[in-house]
């Protein structure tokens, strides 16, 4: 995954400023994947349209998953669609982020009880970075979700965790390997 492959041990001033520059670039140009699932997709389109204008934040749609950074899961994910979402996520190139938009993709939303064909939350198939609640969320809410994602990206680091932390993570991994 490009430059992010390399992790640095020490954090000197060059690496820190490089890190902030890279984070700035990633968070300033979040291209989302142009695909909608259900009602929320209409609100997503409205957010991209003139009144709310995603482009102000440098957010533009790309229709090929290869070139997208963010996947907005906008709407109800059904069992039939779940494997497709998974595949789309796999087709995206790292670093990739997922915004789960609306109650349906957060948790099944209004379809959690009798919805035999509805996946109860997209986080069962792909990891989610930001959840935006609402049914459907207003465009402002989706923008807020993007701002939260930007916040999250600016906290990412290319500095390797200290050795002690590394050990502890390895310890945590062990039981998984045993299973």
């Amino acid at each position: 995954m490009g430059l992010l492959d390399k992790k640095y041990h020490d954090s000197n001033i060059i690496i820190v400023s490089l890190e902030s520059a890279l984070n700035w670039a990633r968070k300033s140009s979040l291209w989302y994947e142009q695909f909608g699932l259900a009602c929320c997709a209409i609100e997503m389109m409205a957010t991209a349209a003139s009144d709310y204008d995603f482009d102000r934040f440098g957010i533009i749609p790309r229709s090929s998953p290869r070139q997208a950074d963010v996947m907005i899961v906008a709407g109800t994910v059904t069992m039939k669609m779940a494997s497709r979402i998974e595949r789309l996520y796999e087709q995206m190139s790292e670093p990739r982020y997922v915004i789960s938009m609306g109650s349906c993709s957060n948790s099944g939303g209004p379809y959690w009880e009798h919805g035999y064909h509805v996946l109860k939350g997209v986080d069962k198939v792909i990891p989610v970075d930001v959840y935006v609640p609402g049914c459907p969320p207003r465009p402002e809410a989706l923008l807020e979700g993007f701002l939260k994602l930007q916040e999250r990206i600016s906290n990412e680091t290319i500095i390797e965790p200290r050795e002690t932390e590394q050990e502890s993570t390895e310890e945590e991994k062990e039981p998984i390997e045993v299973e």
Binding site: M79, K120, K124
Partner: protein, 159 residues
């Protein structure tokens, strides 16, 4: 023509013994046995005084108490501007209904949907496959005794 007049007309012209059913509220309907369904449907479509050229809706129904499955046909004629509700009922253990796809093309997807959700088999349908749920889905969801499968392709359907 009203349902009553249509029934009368059919009985008079074609010697049937159809009888409209009335409920406490709403529309009345005629019930046809599956063996003559196709004939009746063809008559309804082609008879000069009836000309039901528009199949508005076709729905599968599960009658749990009677252990029966049913199909309701909502017909409409844009030429004479009259409507008719026709029903057919089949036992749950052998739910075979003749297809009307060759008469009204719109029935194609409706019948697939009824097969998918209620589990009625339509004889003579050109490609009776599931339409809304995946092909390897278990059960027919709109049956009253439907039990949701626990997982589909290793993804849990529960919460």
């Amino acid at each position: 023509m009203t349902t009553e007049e249509i029934t009368e007309y059919l009985n008079r012209e074609y010697g049937g013994n159809l009888d409209p059913t009335y409920a406490e509220a709403g529309d009345s309907w005629i019930t046809v046995s599956p063996s003559v369904l196709r004939e009746v449907a063809k008559t309804l479509r082609d008879d000069k005084n009836l000309q039901f050229n528009n199949l508005m809706c076709l729905s599968g129904i599960h009658y749990q108490k009677e252990n029966e499955l049913g199909v309701a046909y909502h017909l409409h004629s844009t030429i004479h501007d009259h409507k008719l509700v026709m029903k057919v009922r089949v036992p749950e253990d052998n739910p075979v209904v003749p297809s009307v796809e060759s008469l009204w093309k719109t029935a194609n997807w409706h019948e697939r949907e009824a097969y998918d959700l209620v589990g009625i088999t339509f004889r003579g349908h050109p490609g009776l496959l599931r339409i809304l749920t995946p092909q390897d889905w278990e059960g027919h969801p709109l049956r009253k005794d439907y039990e949701q499968q626990e997982s589909y392709r290793n993804v849990s359907t529960g919460i």
